[in-house]
Point group: C2
Chain length 342, copies 2
């Protein structure tokens, strides 16, 4: 993805250091941050300097490679694996990448671990490109697409899972319009997806998370497309909280509801969504919001009445019955019918 004419990935490994776009500073500041150790990389995942299933996975893999490169023995890398896996509980990509790099490093050493982590990041980008190829025909000329949270390149190393077909449709001359749900509490829709779409020149408008039903009732939504953090074997999907709300509304209005899912998000060991742990995050994410003052400072303000508390589950689980199709790099499948790993 290009930012001001220069190509960036959302996260990358350079020697023993992990570099990343600081997503907590976007869209008001574009800053690159580095994590010199696996401990710092874990902190960046936990604090959501990087976020989004694909990027959490890539960063986790890079962090695991860092632990091998730190060269302090088997116990060190085993502890590092625990540290990295404990950062965020819901995204399957994290476990997928950390375990794969750990296994490779134990077998073949630090340099092999680093190459494996790099391969995972590269594969994630390839997945998005293939998802874009398969999903682009779902987008007809003139369609209005509703998306939630950020399943763009910032969540997927590069290209994006939900954004890939949108960019591809636009490249092929189709007129597209994207409704971007704000996605409170962290507002990744209003902050990140809007920023990406504006950089790419895709027409869009941000809506409050209270608006989807009335847009659907007015016939203003042709398709809903979201990403995912984990897909169970039966096709149940964990994704950003609010996804279940949109899936139920889409079904009520007869609007197709698609989930874009790279293979790294598939958890065939998890028979149904009931088994997916849902992360509960600090209530301050609801009570406070950060943004840009008129003077150009980023300031944190309290937006909820002082003295009141909040409940903040970060994800929800959408049962397969609400999902029209799961878009994978190998094609679009009915939930539960997608191909098992070879």
């Amino acid at each position: 993805m290009n930012v001001a004419g220069k190509h960036y990935r959302a996260v990358w490994l350079d020697g023993p250091q992990v570099w990343m776009i600081d997503q907590n500073r976007l869209p008001f500041y574009f800053e690159i941050r580095n994590a010199p150790t696996h401990v710092e990389t874990a902190r960046c995942i936990r604090e959501m300097t990087v976020r989004g299933a694909g990027v959490i996975g890539a960063a986790g893999g890079f962090g695991m490679a860092q632990a091998f490169l730190e060269d302090e023995g088997r116990e060190h890398v085993d502890r590092a694996r625990e540290t990295l896996e404990s950062t965020r509980p819901t995204a399957q990509t994290l476990y997928y990448a950390v375990r794969r790099v750990h296994r490779r490093g134990v077998e073949a050493g630090p340099e092999a671990a680093a190459r494996e982590a790099q391969a995972i990041a590269d594969e994630e980008i390839g997945f998005c490109r293939e998802i874009g190829r398969h999903a682009e025909p779902l987008i007809r000329d003139g369609m209005k697409i509703l998306t939630h949270c950020n399943a763009g390149w910032l969540a997927s190393v590069d290209y994006g899972s939900v954004t890939a077909p949108i960019y591809r449709a636009k490249e092929r001359g189709k007129k597209v319009f994207v409704w971007v749900s704000e996605t409170r509490p962290r507002a990744q829709g209003g902050r990140l997806t809007a920023w990406e779409l504006r950089n790419e020149g895709v027409p869009h408008a941000v809506i409050s998370d209270t608006v989807p039903a009335s847009l659907m009732a007015r016939g203003e939504v042709d398709v809903v497309m979201v990403g995912c953090d984990r897909v169970a074997a039966n096709g149940d999907v964990a994704n950003k909280v609010g996804t279940l709300d949109l899936a139920i509304l889409a079904k009520e209005f007869g609007i197709p509801f698609y989930v874009a899912a790279p293979p790294s998000a598939m958890d065939f060991n998890c028979p149904s969504g009931e088994g997916i742990p849902i992360e509960e995050r600090p209530q301050d994410e609801i009570l406070y919001q950060a943004g840009l003052t008129d003077e150009g400072r980023v300031e944190r303000i309290r937006v909820v009445s002082p003295g009141s508390g909040a409940f903040n589950p970060a994800f929800d689980m959408t049962p397969a019955r609400y999902i029209t199709g799961i878009i994978t790099p190998e094609g679009v499948f009915k939930p539960g019918d997608f191909p098992r790993p070879r």
Copy 2:
């Protein structure tokens, strides 16, 4: 309603002046503001210094009385009526009150107009008390109630329509818990309802507007209760945007969905919800948010990526088929079956 030991209404008339709690300053500052002329009262309604259907109606009636008290002839009061009616398009209470005071003032002069406006405000409070009496039995001990926006005393002069039964249930020793949806963009749930419930000592938690479906799926919502801005003859309801989303979700999960409606909100001239105008408000309400900095200043910050726009319908329309019952001062009725005015 008591604030720091002193009783307040949300809006009141004192001689020729309208006084009101500035709801744009809540919950961070409790400030009383006065409107010395009907023009200023109209501005306060438009700028949402006062908001909520009941209070918009009361303020509109008081403003109409002010126009008569200004004593500048028939043309002046007719123009004032237009000014007041043009402030907000969706709440039926506004037209109800303005027309009633206008009619009375034309018949019987300024003092009669002022008494009529006062009667409307007093009736609104009586309506809430009766709604509380009828709806309290719907709340069983231990129930978790989800509400949206603010249908409390700040929206209803005093007592509140949705809050009345909650306060009454609590007084009668029932354990209640309220989920308060933030209600972006203006966050009347997180700012006003949370503030009211905290003042009254009612246990509650604020949630993002993305959380209702997952709460319902977890069995954490026993009943949904919302207010309304207008009810059509067939029982379709216009209320704060996001109400339709909650009604559809409640139906999907088999959760009762009630609307509290004073007679001033009933529009028997409007056969169905299709005829209710939906106000579209400035996109800045989505792009910016105001709140309290750590230093105690109220600051406005941009929360959406700069350069992106927004779409901001303030209300939505919930078809009668999603509504379990409409709670009126005369009892709880199936939508469309409520009694016509005598």
